[in-house]
């Protein structure tokens, strides 16, 4: 009797469970679609920026304002969050301190806020950490803090070529005190870049090697092959003549 009642009850429970899961799944799908639709313009503009297509300053300003909402709403989808990051960073370039400080400052601090939220969503993204370091240091460069943020970036993406070269680029622009504070990470980044990164990109990362990084470049150059040296020279980067 008991078994029969159980058998009769179970299919209904299963149906209900399946139904509930389906409704939940549908709800989630609709929610994701809504988010995609809501921030479609951000993704589109980010893609244009990424592929070097022209985007007007006005468009960047409008879309970046949209992107600010990504963080405010707590959206945590990597494609949306990273697209938003691209636009809020691009917005900084719309202004400069000399001619429009309020807008420049506002864009800078908004980017910092955005990146802080983005990192809460994607704490393992070395590039986001790097960008946060760059923005925070532009607001006020504190050697220890900048070095620490760069170290976290290096920890998450120690050898990703784009992140590595980007870090080298910023190490090269930081004050010597910051390079000194992050000496080990900076040294490792520079040596790795000189030894293995695409030569043309090494040259771009080092338009001019800063005095603080020169010892690391010299150290790296001691261990590169003749072939590698030739490749760097062909690309316009002479590690022996800085």
């Amino acid at each position: 009797m008991w078994n029969g009642a159980r058998l009769a009850f179970l299919p209904l429970a299963e149906y209900l469970a399946i139904g509930a899961i389906a409704v939940l799944g549908l709800g989630l799908a609709v929610s994701e679609l809504q988010i995609s639709a809501r921030f479609a313009d951000v993704s589109l503009v980010a893609e244009r920026i990424e592929y070097g297509k022209p985007v007007s300053a006005n468009s960047v300003a409008i879309i970046a304002a949209d992107a600010d909402e990504i963080g405010e709403l707590g959206v945590c989808r990597s494609d949306i969050v990273l697209a938003g990051a691209k636009t809020v960073l691009q917005r900084i370039g719309n202004y400069d301190e000399a001619t429009n400080y309020p807008a420049w400052w506002s864009a800078l601090t908004a980017a910092k806020t955005y990146l802080g939220r983005a990192l809460a969503c994607l704490p393992g993204d070395g590039n986001l950490w790097l960008r946060y370091a760059a923005v925070d240091s532009t607001i006020a460069e504190g050697p220890e803090k900048a070095a620490k943020l760069m170290a976290i970036s290096a920890m998450h993406s120690p050898a990703d070529e784009s992140d590595l070269l980007a870090r080298v680029y910023f190490w090269n622009r930081f004050r010597p005190e910051t390079v000194a504070a992050g000496r080990d990470v900076a040294r490792k980044d520079v040596i790795l870049a000189v030894q293995i990164a695409t030569p043309a990109d090494v040259r771009k990362a080092f338009p001019t090697v800063s005095p603080a990084l020169k010892p690391f470049v010299i150290e790296a150059a001691k261990d590169i092959s003749a072939q590698r040296r030739r490749a760097l020279l062909r690309a316009g980067f002479d590690p022996d003549n800085l």
């Binding site: 070097g52 960073l89 691009q90 370039g93 001619t99 960008r131 240091s137 460069e141």
Partner: protein, 241 residues
């Protein structure tokens, strides 16, 4: 005296008065003609520098506020520095103060270089000895960095010649970059996007003459601009995200 002569005389007197007025305004130590900090804020900072710390706790807020306060009354630089050397000031807050002072100097530089120099000299006093430099490293680093950012923006270094930018495309990851300079001037693709195009300003040491020397005990400040292109590339360079 002819009417024409009288007119000339009166005009000259007014012109002289105007020059004197502007000169005295300069020596009053303000670099902000309009939109400066309120008298209330100025008085608060002047009378109780320690309140700068409590009022503007974060690095960002402190940098922004000090920029305006000191640009409005450059004599406040001394109060800011006094507050920076007080107890319980974090490294972040010191960096904020340094950046704020640098930006105040940046405001003064084009209109009254003497006041900008006064600010720089006040900060330079913090770097008198290696021990001082070590103790004030955060403030000095942010100060020197802040001076450089403005020089780049003011000279338009970011535009066109900008360190390549934008969307910097990482090799094999995100395609070509879209360098945009300060002001949103599109400067053309730059491959990796983190290099500098031709004509961009150098970043080597010889360009850093306006900054305060913290590598030896001789403090030098001069009016040569620092061309640190850092600020213009934050939005532009490593864009592989």
């Amino acid at each position: 005296m002819s009417v024409e002569l009288k007119k000339t005389f009166v005009t000259s007197v007014f012109a002289a008065a105007a020059v004197l007025a502007s000169t005295s305004a300069s020596f009053a130590g303000t670099c902000v003609a309009t939109g400066g900090a309120s008298q209330e804020l100025l008085d608060a900072a002047r009378n109780n520098p320690a309140r700068l710390i409590s009022s503007y706790g974060s690095k960002d807020a402190m940098s922004d506020a000090i920029r305006l306060l000191v640009a409005t009354d450059t004599t406040l630089a001394a109060q800011v520095l006094a507050a920076a050397s007080g107890p319980g000031v974090s490294a972040d807050q010191k960096a904020g103060m340094g950046a704020g002072l640098a930006r105040a100097a940046n405001i003064c530089e084009p209109q009254n270089a003497a006041l900008a120099t006064e600010i720089q000299e006040a900060v330079a006093a913090l770097a008198a000895t290696p021990a001082d430099q070590a103790a004030n490293r955060d403030l000095l680093t942010a100060f020197n960095s802040g001076l450089g950012q403005f020089a780049t923006a003011a000279t338009g270094a970011g535009a066109g010649a900008a360190p390549g930018a934008g969307a910097a495309a990482a090799p094999g990851v995100t395609g070509t970059g879209a360098p945009t300079g300060t002001g949103g001037v599109v400067a053309g693709a730059d491959g990796l996007g983190i290099g500098q195009g031709d004509g961009s300003l150098s970043t080597n040491a010889s360009d850093n003459a306006r900054t305060i020397n913290t590598t030896n005990t001789t403090n030098t400040t001069n009016s040569t601009s620092t061309f640190n292109t850092f600020q213009t590339v934050v939005s532009q360079s490593p864009a592989s995200i």
